[in-house]
Symmetry: C2
Subunit: 213 residues, 2 copies
């Protein structure tokens, strides 16, 4: 979608609209992830974004479409982060690269817990929103992760366990502490938004997968 276009039927989008649209999407990501799709009201999203509620139906056809935009923005950020990390690791040996990308994934899930919160929300039962998540975003990530684990296992770098199990162990062990951040703050003396805690958690998960080396 071009920002300023003068072609025949294209709508001219003004910068101010893009900015408020982004604020709406960010507010939606926060509230959908904390309160679930049904628990987040369009009025509360609008309030957090600093606009009025009918504006959401101007920028997005429906609540569902706003949810999709929020999900898209979160996955775009994840993919961009992981792609940049991967391209920075060109030439590095496979095992070291895998360790560092695993750390990057865990760090991302700590700084952006909204994404895994939404996945946890919507993938518990079949429905149109799970269709969207799986088909559009989760499956390609799953496929790449499976390939990575199979390669690591055949190289002896991680235990020889079917890759699908390793996938759910990683996506569970890594983000859960941050998905349940508020609970973690009450149960333990750890602050899951503290960089040292994030680092320690990434260390812990990597150690379990790759051994204490």
């Amino acid at each position: 979608m071009p920002k300023t276009s003068t072609t025949s039927n294209a709508r001219v989008t003004r910068p101010s609209a893009d900015a408020t649209r982004d604020r709406i999407v960010a507010a939606a990501a926060d509230l959908f992830s904390e309160r679930s799709f049904d628990g987040a009201t369009t009025r509360e999203i609008a309030t957090r974004a600093g606009v009025t509620q009918p504006l959401l139906n101007y920028h997005f056809r429906s609540k569902e479409e706003l949810w999709q935009a929020a999900v898209d923005s979160l996955f775009d950020l994840l993919n961009q982060t992981m792609d940049e990390r991967a391209s920075g690791l060109r030439g590095v040996d496979e095992i070291t690269s895998a360790k560092l990308r695993m750390r990057e994934f865990i760090t991302f899930s700590a700084r952006n817990p909204q994404l895994h919160r939404i996945i946890m929300q919507e993938s518990k039962a079949d429905g149109p929103r799970m269709d969207y998540l799986v088909n559009r975003h989760v499956r390609p990530i799953y496929e790449r992760t499976i390939e990575m684990f199979e390669s690591l296992a055949s190289a002896g770098a991680v235990p020889n366990i079917p890759a699908a199990h390793l996938y759910y162990i990683l996506t569970g062990a890594g983000p859960t502490m941050f998905v349940l951040g508020p609970e973690c703050r009450r149960l333990s003396s750890l602050d899951p938004s503290d960089d040292d805690v994030i680092e320690a958690h990434a260390d812990a998960v990597c150690r379990l997968f790759f051994g204490s080396a």
Copy 2:
């Protein structure tokens, strides 16, 4: 709460009422866990329980109270299952006992994914329902698990990692595959309700914690 009591102010509860009450609680646990507190409607819970909607407000003062009853029943089942397992393991050495109790926990989370689905729902943000969960149910389990991991770590049975991290690794790595069971069915060729798959997942998690022995 006695079933039949003739003491002064006690209400006499009939067996048929207990049965329907249990059906309502079970239906509520299913729907709250799949659809979140706001997403589950009292009418749908009533339909699944085979009763009419006003009956929920006869047995429970409010939707919140019904949610608490559902949560209580799930934790009661977990605690009973774990207590029975522990008492059957009297005399067994600590490490073997810990392995087997960890397997029991993972198996339970596979057969009763509702519990962790609800925890994942409500512990993402502060609120009265998270208060109830943490204060009434989660904290004692957390404390016991921390003690277990600290003892195992000082015995060299698990990597020397702060116990709070191990707690969130276990509660993430174990149940996530079953919490996201419908997603897992679409992504992989595994059926997360298959006993062999559950066994394999428990194997995998225990291997990561205790080593490949």
